[in-house]
Symmetry: C2
Subunit: 794 residues, 2 copies
């Protein structure tokens, strides 16, 4: 025993014996949650009536999670750490609930689950029980920012949480199952995006328990040396824990390793904070190889269970049919010696409770894990000041996202001191025209920076990595711990994080029902480089379907905006940055395009969410013959161009022009909080006139949102119908019948009263389309008539 060890009371056999008891207590409570609905302290011999009729839960990962939790508690107390626990194997829900209960947090949040026998009985019963709590670590679990149902995002979440939190350490347990996923595999590289001066530290713990649901894991079946190379290749200094001959020895080894790693983190941070950050450190990480289902039944029905995939969920089942299983369960639970762990009243023994940190140092009560508690409003400049001055509609050209970028530049600047705002993008930050933000900050990189690099710095606040998964995961972690952000993405490729969006939306929905979870900043997406302007990259880059995906989630948590120009985009952006607990999806163009609304008009339009554009309509004196509606910048352009054709060629045709910014206004008010009343909808769209709707996305989304509206039978939607290739911008609309000529033709067809005039006009429009096709195939760009078109209607 070294001097350091001898002098450290938390490494003494006595302390570690208590720590082992603490671990046993957590294991006991975990098994109790999975199995029992009564007799929590096993005061009576275990009977079938004490056991839940349906056994749900995941034992396999649980003892490992408990082991880590107990040792982290020790380190928190020893070093006074500010620490959050991310359980990648969040399906091991009983572990986190058990520990949060042991440290006293759980009963503070849920007084009904008290620290006594009755509380323990309820704790057991509620787990995976109707009316109780979910089987996974969930928003309901104090201390959690990570669900762990869908695997892959633990390390990204942990990284997002430590950004701009220099004192925070996030211990992040990664299961060897999860380690096989793509998002997790790339998230090891998060260490190239953490700055030890201003950010906290992630302590990854790869829990190699060897098995998934039904088979071995990949990383447990490669040589230790190879695994070491892998972790070194990822840029870490790996430490290894293996089960020792005795439990005491395993505890001692773990305690020492945890100390070494914490001290290494402190060294790295102290050095960087004192001497500046010059070189990316090799952060420590732990590979912990312990058996799946550790301390559980070794064998059941003659086959191995501990250290096998068979312990993944419930090691003992069919208790009603197999009385010997009930016996095994009782033996198993008693093997933890509950009588040594809990008082007769069912409270954790004071000598064990001493091992838990106190107050906000308890991982279940760490305020970072309830980010809304820490959330500070952003300081926001007046977005009106970034407006494009507009003498009249269509009189100027601007790049919407570039204008938004100016606004975001100043948001960044004004919150630089608060250190609570970051931007995230997969290699598309400049491409998406947010360049001006680079005037006040840089792309963040903690790896080598060359003298020739521009806009790259160790203290940048732009998080750019070619992984939508990482951007999303980091941003989620950042938001969940009480900060703000915006994610800019190519529209087609945001589908890469469809499932991550799902999980975040579900998390938010659940949080709305948990009073102690304080609201967090919304997750804001800018989707640009959108379908209509992927004429250069072609078919693979054309997909507007993310919004279809988004509107499947609870209306309470999702918002979709399609601002048609820069000023509306500014208004929407300001709104998104102020909102809480939503996912805001903003779809906007980055290409030079006509501007339609003055700032005042834009604010009014965005506040309503949808409205009639009088200046484009000529039905003021009468009722319209047709409603031309649109949503999205390119459809708005084509719709207006069609209107100007029609008004030139058919001045008697009465057109009402409607633009929709907030897509959710189309839904009935009963379906979405933003939904227009039927009265408003009918007044805007009429109940009996044809509506020709030019839509940014797949056309049926508009039908889906409006099918209960009176005018729905008169509604005709044009949108993207999966036609595209590398071609001209205007041709993209032609291929999908969304261009001005097709729209004008459709409008004519929808107004039967036009009679004889119609045939002639239709022919002119078709000639235009032929002319277009011939022109682009000859010249490779759009006709001057299209390129130079301007809104000139008075």
């Amino acid at each position: 025993m070294s001097d350091a060890t001898r002098d450290d009371p938390t490494l003494s056999p006595e302390y570690l014996t208590r720590l082992d008891a603490y671990w046993r207590a957590a294991n006991y409570l975990a098994v109790g949650q999975i199995y029992l609905m009564d007799n929590p302290l096993l005061e009576q011999p275990l009977q079938l009536s004490h056991v839940k009729p349906r056994l749900l839960g995941h034992w396999g990962t649980t003892p490992g999670l408990n082991f880590i939790y107990a040792h982290l508690n020790r380190a928190i107390r020893k070093y006074d750490l500010d620490m959050v626990y991310v359980a990648g194997p969040g399906h091991g829900g009983p572990a986190l609930v058990a520990n949060v209960y042991l440290e006293g947090t759980y009963s503070e949040y849920y007084p009904n689950i008290s620290e006594d026998k009755d509380g323990m009985r309820k704790l057991f019963k509620q787990f995976s029980f109707p009316g109780g709590i979910p089987s996974h670590v969930a928003p309901e679990t104090p201390g959690s920012i990570h669900e762990g149902g869908e695997l892959g995002y633990a390390l990204s979440h942990a990284t997002g949480a430590v950004l701009d939190n220099p004192e925070l350490i996030v211990a992040c347990v990664i299961g060897d199952g999860e380690a096989e996923t793509g998002p997790l595999a790339t998230s090891w590289h998060s260490n190239k995006f953490v700055n030890p001066v201003r950010d906290g530290a992630v302590l990854p713990i790869l829990h190699l328990n060897g098995y998934k649901i039904a088979g071995p894991t990949v990383l447990s079946r490669i040589p230790q040396e190879e695994l070491k190379q892998l972790m070194q290749g990822y840029g870490y200094e790996p430490f290894f824990l293996e089960e020792a001959d005795t439990v005491a020895a395993t505890h001692l080894a773990m305690a020492k390793l945890v100390d070494r790693m914490i001290e290494r983190i402190r060294e790295i941070q102290t050095d960087a904070r004192k001497n500046g950050f010059h070189q990316r450190p090799r952060w420590p990480m732990l590979v912990m190889r312990t058996p799946k289902g550790w301390t559980g039944p070794e064998e059941v029905d003659g086959v191995p269970v501990e250290n096998s995939w068979r312990s993944h969920q419930v090691p003992l089942a069919q208790l009603a049919e197999k009385p010997e299983h009930l016996k095994l369960l009782e033996q198993w639970m008693r093997s933890y010696k509950p009588e040594e762990l809990f008082t007769a009243e069912g409270k954790l023994h004071p000598k064990l409770r001493e091992l838990a940190p106190v107050g906000k140092r308890r991982m279940g009560d760490n305020p970072h894990a309830n980010g809304g508690l820490l959330l500070r409003e952003l300081r926001l400049p007046d977005f009106r000041e970034y407006a494009i001055e507009l003498p009249s509609p269509g009189s100027r050209i601007g790049e919407a996202t570039r204008v938004q970028g100016k606004f975001l530049r100043d948001v960044m600047k004004m919150n630089m001191d608060s250190k609570n705002f970051r931007l995230f993008a997969p290699d598309e930050f400049t491409s998406n025209r947010w360049d001006e933000v680079l005037q006040v900050t840089s792309r963040m990189l903690a790896a080598e920076i060359l003298p020739t690099d521009t806009g790259v710095a160790m203290d940048g606040r732009i998080m750019e990595v070619l992984s939508e998964h990482q951007c999303q995961g980091w941003l989620e972690g950042y938001l969940l711990t009480g900060r703000h952000g915006f994610f800019s993405c190519y529209e087609a490729f945001v589908h890469i994080v469809d499932s991550m969006f799902n999980q975040h939306a579900k998390w938010l929905k659940t949080c709305n029902d948990i009073p102690w979870r304080r609201p967090i900043a919304s997750l804001n997406y800018l989707l640009t480089s959108h379908v209509w302007r992927q004429d250069h990259n072609g078919f693979s880059h054309q997909d507007p379907g993310f919004i279809d995906h988004v509107v499947n989630k609870k209306p309470e948590v999702v918002r979709v905006y399609l601002p048609p120009d820069a000023n509306t985009l500014l208004s929407v952006t300001d709104h998104c940055l102020r909102s809480r607990n939503y996912v805001n999806v903003v779809v906007a163009g980055k290409q030079p395009a006509y501007q339609w609304l003055s700032m005042d008009a834009a604010i009014k339009h965005c506040s309503a969410g949808a409205g009639i554009w009088d200046w484009a309509s000529n039905d003021q004196e009468s009722s319209p013959d047709i409603v031309m509606a649109c949503a999205g910048d390119v459809p708005t352009l084509e719709s207006l161009a069609a209107v100007s054709l029609l008004r030139e060629w058919l001045p008697s045709l009465k057109i009402r022009f409607v633009n929709v910014v907030d897509l959710m206004t189309l839904q009935p008010a009963s379906e979405h909080p933003h939904g227009m009343s039927d009265k408003e909808f009918d007044a805007m769209f009429t109940t009996d006139k044809p509506i020709l709707f030019a839509f940014h996305g797949y056309p049926w989304l508009i039908h889906r949102l409006t099918y209960r509206r009176k005018g729905h039978d008169n509604l005709h939607v044009r949108g993207y119908k999966e036609e595209g290739t590398t071609t001209t911008p205007f041709d993209m609309t032609v291929l999908n019948d969304l261009d001005r000529f097709h729209l004008a033709e459709a409008a004519i067809d929808l107004v039967p009263s036009l009679g004889a005039q119609a045939g002639h006009l239709r022919q002119r429009l078709r000639d235009k389309l032929i002319e277009h096709r011939e022109y682009i195939c000859r010249h490779g760009e759009d006709m001057p008539e299209v390129r130079n078109w301007q809104w000139k209607v008075k």
Copy 2:
């Protein structure tokens, strides 16, 4: 110079000088494609009129891709290799087109693009030009199985391609941008799933050109030693190529490295095939560090372009405004010395053409890259033989996917010799009840296998890894090279590959328009562990939205099936395995459930896609009061249970019962090839009676598919509305108003003629719901009345 080098004519300076010329020819053709529409051989001084008005394309990665292609050509000739080229940076489209043209393949597939001056002019002009070809490597490119627009899947595709193709080598270029994505990061581990005895080899080439669109890449900014550790940690033997002092030296170094790697692959394979496969080999891989935009303009407008992100797309732009750029372009193109490369007629010099492989050895003409050419039908057992014998509807219980598993077991068995069928699953193979396949094959693992493992073998044909991305990518690669497969996935988590599905569906859609692309086997999904039976895992596992996502793609390539029981699932499965060029999505339950249709009835029902179940209806003698429709196994159960309640309590109510298996039948025939005619639809659903549709997924999908139908205004859909947690199976339906009691109540409400009876029944149903809630919160499982319910209507 070593003896080996001296003796090898393909390592001679003369040969490598020619190889360099070949490379220059490819570079010249690539630049030409990006810029020119005329004057292809630069016979005249370059003028603006020769240049395309819109410059679209990606230069940065292109010279590297060309360099690799030229060296692989050399190796193919030297070793007589059967080789396919996967270009991860597929946006470098000009490279692949240039090389396929140089080797003569392109003109064979597209005779209009002939091997002469006029052909070269057309080759240049068509690139990224309306009516021409896309800017990326695409289905239009001979030799390609990979688009490369959405990054991340190159190595998974390459791996899928070599499975069961022992003689095939797939050279897989991975950009350092792509290397940052999650799917790519985990796909390095594909080497644990390749068996050198029966599979071919993947040769990964990590192309470190240092930059993404606008900034440095992560892997180019870590020390070489760390990168080496990373690749070793992934299990490879990495080789490194850096640009040498002279081009000649770089060529020599590359040629030698390629030889070493090919020889290493052969050694590994020869050893394993002779001595058996005992230990996972360290396959070779190459890290090639060459500048982005290599050989392009070094500096433009005073800033570096070569070896910088600025060469990502078009290094010289604004040619009209900046005449000096036009000069630079001409200099650049002339730097390749086209006069040395092409004859006056515009054909590649015969001395260079000699360097290309011939016939099917040309990578552009490798039949594996047009998998339909090699596709052999599966031998299929008669699926009827696996039927559950059914005396009457609801008289037996079965697990649908387990029955499907028996069928798949025998499909596997019958095609074992053909080696063209594999199953893919992310850690859920057994969970999804395909266990019986394990009787005839195993999970594949080329890493360590322990004596305690069961169902794991080096020659297994079940590909199980906890990565939906890998499963999807491998399967796509396997299918694209002419084989068959099935992917079983948890329904909620298939969203992880939403974007991969997009790309595959787009690929198939495009292939339908390319006559020389032969049809390939469909991509088949079994989605199980579905939303209604994720009562145990809870909210994070509940999402039926993948089918919404799928139906956004072209109707020609997507099919969605919701078989309600085992026999219908068998019929659908057989159909899917016989189909070509589709994505088939099959949603089916794995839990014990009632069986409804005999095999004969199932076949009839599936052939129609939707139908009236007479045995559940009582409107035979008259018109119905209500149509009870359903799709999906649990909704079918609840709908039938509601019918049986109603028929007991309200015998006078005339109910028609409709079940839908093929969701696409609901769409108008004009929208989808499977769509029912309006006449059929109206006859089935009526045009004037209320329709209560119990649906597996989000309810609005049914509205979206049917909004053009006459009866749509009478349609009321119940489905998943994002309500759920860990609870009982029946409670999942209650939370979403899809249970029998809610359905019966809704039916009553929809038939106003019921009058006074309605109130009483409604109360009874509400009492049932209260009883349910109380029961589950007390007992933790569903009421016996629900659990033991049986169809007893005569």
